[in-house]
Amino acid sequence: MTRTVRTRTRRTGRIPIGLLVPAALGLVFLVLPLVGLLVRTPWSTLPQRLTEPGVLTALRLSVQTASLATLLCLVLGIPLAWLLARVSFPGRRVVRALITVPLVLPPVVGGVALLLVFGRRGLVGSWLDSTFGITLPFTTTAVVLAEAFVAMPFLIIAVEGALRGADTRYEEAAATLGAGRWTTFTHVTLPLVAPGIAAGAVLCWARALGEFGATITFAGNYPGRTQTMPLAVYLALETDLEAAIVLSLILLTVSVVILACLRDRWISSS
């Protein structure tokens, strides 16, 4: 491993200063805010702050909803990714563009849109309310939906990339050996792209964990039911900067650990 790196450096010669300086500045720009958070963390009171009931409640809710959202994304996202990668149908480009919209959409806008569809007066929501007496806003389900809406593109893009990179000859071989389409999918395709799915799921989970805008707009904010960590951070900022820093630190730690574990897989699968 070390040897390959060394030979590559030798071949390209010295790194041009015109690249090194902006690269270093870019790194500093991205890392410095995180350092700022660490510097201002009240380390002495950290343990007792972490065990405050509000913090644990918000963290537990965040982990639960992000996991459920990821599950939902897997169930709906993998078939969608498969469709995009393996079937050519009219309007595929449009579908792919639509799927990636939540990536660039301001999450608050996503929250408003969800409210207009699944809210008590919404397109689907009013029907749910009048037929089943179900209202989604201000429930934990709403948090899961908001997180899934924002995070699903991450999963779909990762899985679609893996499917496109996978060798289709295995699937063809399975088909010629008499395997049905479903069997081929479950026994050949899925194991083949498993690393891609894992990478996408982890990224999806991390994104769901950090979701703020759509959640506060669509699900509201109530401790234990809809108040996730990012919402707790925002409200803590109103009164207690140190509490906000501590909560931010927890989210940062979780995100960094997740992404660090993911890095190699992400690269190799795409």
Binding site: F138, G220, N221, E238
Partner: protein, 257 residues
């Protein structure tokens, strides 16, 4: 009459501005009033301060007022973290206190208006809400502000004093967010300020309730220590507290201090 009063106010402000010996005075027509002014103001002041800002610009040529409207506590945090602002208008004394205690105010804050809570309900009051106790009816969905922001603190005081055990479906991050949940029809009621209901005239009705007298919010305003445009900032403070400024605020539903 109005013109005369305006002229008097302008002259007074001109004299006031002339007395100010601020080194960073912007270039202006002799009285030091001009240039850009940045005002951080509570979300509940959005409509009235926007209008006052326009009037103030009209009265002082060359002045450009920029507002940042948000929850008072968030604004206070931003100011204490060094956000560039000339004036801070808070919806309650507590966020103002965090600014003054951090030594970021120039002089004492002055209360310029007061605001009272009402129950915001959809237009026509379909659930026939007449008071606080109606909000605890089974199945009633109520939005409150989080206790960390002034409207939430006021709501908590009122509910505790009235002995009403109310479980809201959500604790919103500012008063406008609580009101918008009523406008969208997602909740049946919300405790917001009278001024917010008046600003959302067409879509919501306000139900007054006697207990709200127990938690009237004082709105303090102050000149900030790091203001870059102090003469204009002082003129703006005077303008807000002048009869012209107060008339706009009263019309918006605020009470005189």
């Amino acid at each position: 009459m109005k013109a005369v009063r305006l002229l008097a106010a302008v002259t007074a402000l001109a004299l006031l501005g002339g007395c100010a010996d601020d080194a960073a005075a912007p270039p202006a027509g002799g009285n030091g009033i001009g240039g850009e002014l940045t005002v951080f103001a509570a979300a509940s002041l959005t409509e009235s301060f926007t209008r006052i800002g326009r009037d103030f610009e009209a009265a002082h040529q060359g002045v450009q007022v920029t507002f940042s409207f948000a929850g008072s506590s968030a604004l206070a945090t931003q100011i204490n973290q060094g956000a560039p602002a000339d004036v801070f208008a808070s919806a309650a004394p507590a966020p103002m206190a965090t600014v003054t205690e951090a030594g970021n105010a120039d002089g004492e804050p002055a209360t310029f208006v007061r605001n009272q809570l009402v129950i915001a309900v959809p237009q026509g009051n379909p659930d026939r809400v007449t008071g606080l106790s109606d909000l605890t009816r089974p199945g009633a969905k109520v939005a409150l502000c989080a206790e960390q922001v002034p409207c939430g603190a006021a709501a908590r005081t009122v509910l505790d004093a009235a002995g009403v055990a109310l479980t809201p479906v959500t604790l919103e991050q500012d008063v406008k967010a609580a009101l918008s949940k009523v406008r969208l029809g997602e909740v049946d009621a919300a405790l917001v300020y009278r001024t917010d209901v008046r600003a959302a005239d067409a879509e919501v009705d306000g139900v007054e309730f006697p207990e709200s007298a127990g938690a009237i919010n004082d709105y303090p305003i102050v000149l900030l220590k790091d203001a870059t445009n102090k003469p204009t900032a002082r003129a703006f403070l005077e303008y807000v507290r002048s009869d012209t400024g107060q008339a706009v605020l009263t019309e918006a539903g605020f009470q005189a201090p």
